[in-house]
């Protein structure tokens, strides 16, 4: 007897979310096809990982391959600033060495399921290819250069992927679909469940530099291979510094959309004017060689009204994207794949792929992304709080936990509750000593919509 479907699961997109899910499913003996519109390797933003990817890498047994690939190890994170704005409503300045300088090492906190004290910085071209090849090696079928234009849900028990490879169009029948199409949000757009985030209207303009003196920009030269976030003395604007190889460094400016508009969408003017506000940063960059044209990532943050349905789940960026400040992208991708895989494997055993089979996934991801979202909101709304909490022994470990990406399988961290309490108090009282530090970005509620 021939089955009336081609694969159990059709995965749209072969980035970290799609390949991780395919790896889990293939290992469980579920027939899986991945449709990737591009041919790897291809460039991609989102190069810094957090340790929360490690339990997932161990699950799918890719961690030794990642180790062998020789990506720079990321032992921690640092923040620098040249902030001399008057603080509170009193007109005194702040020492540049006290405000906004902070560093954390991952090894300061033991993390469940994590057997090393570092994550990695990765060239996403190589990293994503390694993951996809791994999924293929485990038995998933991978179609490269094949785009999924839409999914026909006429019979929710037998979705049909409308694929296109060059000029060829092939319908592919499956029992369920996982959308891992990233910021393209294939199903979110098709089903009109995508909602732009009104708060985080951030843009990024980024490129790679060769020969950048990372030590010159680190708070401590020993930690030059940390990820660094350099605050610029411009509202809600910061720069990422991510080691890609021994000599290559990824640099991106993240700011609000209107500032890029004000530069008449001229990326070069915007980029160099922005970094120019930190002269030592601008000089280090000018002394290095820019390797790629500047690239913009726009339409930043969004949520979905639903991330599961009959015969479908949305994972990774296809489910939610907020802001890259804490390097959450690949971690959300791989952990959402882990959580979704668990429900899909159970659904497969029952032969039932209806929406309620994916409730665990939706609930857990909702809890995790809410913590991320709130943490990011607090960060933008009252940055001084973030810095002071890092320096406060009562909260430091909790902050590190969130920076490790350890948010899915636990309750809301105490530090986050305290941050919310602070922000409310600071907002309410103009004589609060931190009132003058309030940022422009203001999230009214932790809007996890799904």
């Amino acid at each position: 007897m021939t089955a009336d479907f081609d694969y159990d699961v059709g995965v749209i997109g072969g980035g970290p979310a799609g390949s991780t899910l395919a790896a889990y499913l293939a290992r469980a003996g579920i027939s899986t096809a991945v449709f990737e519109s591009e041919t790897f390797p291809r460039e991609h933003v989102g190069e810094s990982l957090v340790p929360a990817v490690i339990p997932v890498m161990r699950d799918i047994e890719i961690i030794e391959t990642i180790e062998k690939a020789g990506f720079p190890r990321k032992y921690g994170a640092g923040w620098t600033s040249a902030d001399r704005r008057p603080i509170a409503n009193l007109d005194f300045s702040v020492d540049s060495h006290t405000l906004g300088h902070a560093e954390i090492s991952y090894e300061e906190r033991e993390q469940p399921g994590v057997d090393r004290v570092y994550a990695w910085h990765v060239d996403r071209g190589r990293f994503d290819q390694i993951l996809l090849d791994h999924a293929r090696g485990l038995g998933a079928e991978v179609f490269s250069g094949t785009r999924v234009n839409r999914v026909d849900f006429t019979d929710p028990a037998r979705p049909v992927l409308q694929t296109k490879t060059g000029d060829r169009r092939d319908p592919v029948r499956v029992r369920m679909v996982a959308d891992a199409s990233g910021r393209q949000t294939m199903l979110g757009s098709q089903l009109r469940v995508k909602v732009p985030d009104p708060v985080f209207n951030q843009y990024a303009v980024h490129t790679w530099f060769d020969g950048l003196d990372r030590r010159a920009l680190a708070t401590n030269p020993r930690d030059a291979d940390f990820i660094f976030v350099h605050y610029l003395p411009l509202v809600d604007t910061w720069v990422w510094q991510i080691p890609i190889t021994e000599t290559i460094t990824s640099i991106g400016v993240v700011s609000q959309k209107q500032r890029i508009r004000a530069a008449k969408d001229d990326l070069s003017t915007f980029f160099w004017d922005s970094v120019g506000s930190r002269p030592e940063l601008a000089k280090a960059l000018r002394d290095a060689e820019q390797l790629r044209p500047l690239k913009a990532e726009g339409d930043y943050s969004y949520a979905m009204r639903q991330i599961t349905g009959d015969g479908m789940v949305l994972i990774g960026d296809a489910a939610r994207f907020v802001d890259p400040i804490f390097s959450s992208g690949v971690s959300v991708a791989m952990n959402s794949a882990r959580l979704a895989a668990k429900d899909i494997i159970a659904a497969h055993a029952l032969g039932d792929f209806r929406r309620e089979r994916f409730d665990n996934y939706a609930d857990t991801l909702r809890r995790g992304t809410r913590i991320w979202y709130d943490f990011i909101s607090m960060y933008y709304r009252l940055n001084v709080l973030f810095t002071s909490f890092i320096h406060d022994p009562a909260y430091r470990i909790d902050i590190i936990r969130m920076l490790q990406g350890d948010v899915y399988d636990a309750e809301e961290p105490e530090a986050l509750k305290a941050m919310k309490e602070y922000v409310a108090a600071v907002e309410a009282d103009p004589t609060h000593l931190w009132h003058g530090h309030l940022g422009n970005l203001r999230a009214e509620s932790a809007a996890a919509l799904f």
């Binding site: 002071s388 602070y422 000593l433 530090h437």
Partner: protein, 94 residues
């Protein structure tokens, strides 16, 4: 209760601000009335550190809503705040 008297709170606060926030600089004599905010001795990060110190040393948690100008103007104000939050009866008149 870790707070014995307002005097000892004043002494501890003065020592902490002198040693930790002013890095041991004793060129300016700190009194209970030295205007910490106006003179820029306490910036926002320092305020956070001081709040942490008070929690560690006296077991007194200062609620976020109390971190306002009138409570941090000088060491006297801060000592009063600590005393009132600790519920100590040792609070002297100023």
């Amino acid at each position: 209760m870790l707070v014995e008297s307002r005097d000892s709170v004043v002494k501890e606060l003065t020592r902490y601000i002198q040693d930790e926030l002013l890095s041991g600089d004793r060129s300016a004599e700190l009194t209970t009335e030295t205007p910490l905010l106006r003179w820029g001795i306490l910036n926002s990060i320092d305020t956070a550190r001081l709040v942490g110190f008070i929690r560690e040393r006296f077991g007194v948690r200062i609620p976020p809503a109390d971190i306002v100008e009138k409570n941090f103007r000088d060491i006297g104000c801060i000592a009063d705040l600590v005393a009132s939050l600790s519920g100590s009866e040792a609070t002297n008149d100023r």
